[in-house]
Symmetry: C2
Subunit: 115 residues, 2 copies
């Protein structure tokens, strides 16, 4: 039997290992928060709190190029945080889900209660 040296946690570690959710779920969760973790995307999402907006309205509002906004809208759409509808040439984006609001509001609470 192996000598027990130093700080030994094997029992605790074994137990917790059984309790932790799959790595995959935790990874998905991190990936979700990563989407919120960018100022441009956060500003876009916040813009859409009020109402749906077309791409060029968002560009003007945030003072950024249409390309930059389009790229980020794609990320948001791929992750089901926004959706869009077409009206002629114009495409309107809107929040896909009420969870988006809740997640952001929860984060906001953390910040404000901290100061």
């Amino acid at each position: 039997m192996p000598e027990k040296k130093k700080h030994d946690h094997s029992a605790l570690v074994d137990m917790l290992h059984r309790e932790l959710p799959d790595e995959e779920h935790l990874c998905d969760l991190a990936d979700l928060f990563k989407i919120f973790g960018d100022t441009t995307r956060m500003r876009i999402l916040y813009s859409l709190f009020e109402s749906e907006l077309c791409v060029c309205a968002i560009s003007e509002l945030l003072g950024m190029t249409q390309s930059a906004i389009s790229h980020q809208l794609r990320v948001l759409k791929d992750n089901h945080l926004v959706a869009n509808r077409r009206e002629g040439k114009t495409i309107y984006y809107f929040l896909a889900d009420d969870h988006v609001r809740k997640i952001i509001e929860q984060g906001y609470e953390h910040l404000t209660e901290e100061e």
Copy 2:
């Protein structure tokens, strides 16, 4: 007076500009979510859901070097998501705030309701 060309949103943009919270707040919010947006940090936080743990227990549990864990614990601590206490040579880390649980749970809900 300037000719009105193309798609014009100036009125809408002006209005929304007044409604958007400061850039600073939105940036802070993105920075907060950025912390959750890393698999290692997410795994650490999840480990601490059960109970406080010392650094080397976390390292063993996640199968990562002590250094990597220490670096990430520093990020988490600087952002007030975890706190620690000393007991001799050992330092125990724990969740700093119940918001941490809530934010993660909210994200988890979004993921599960989606599939």
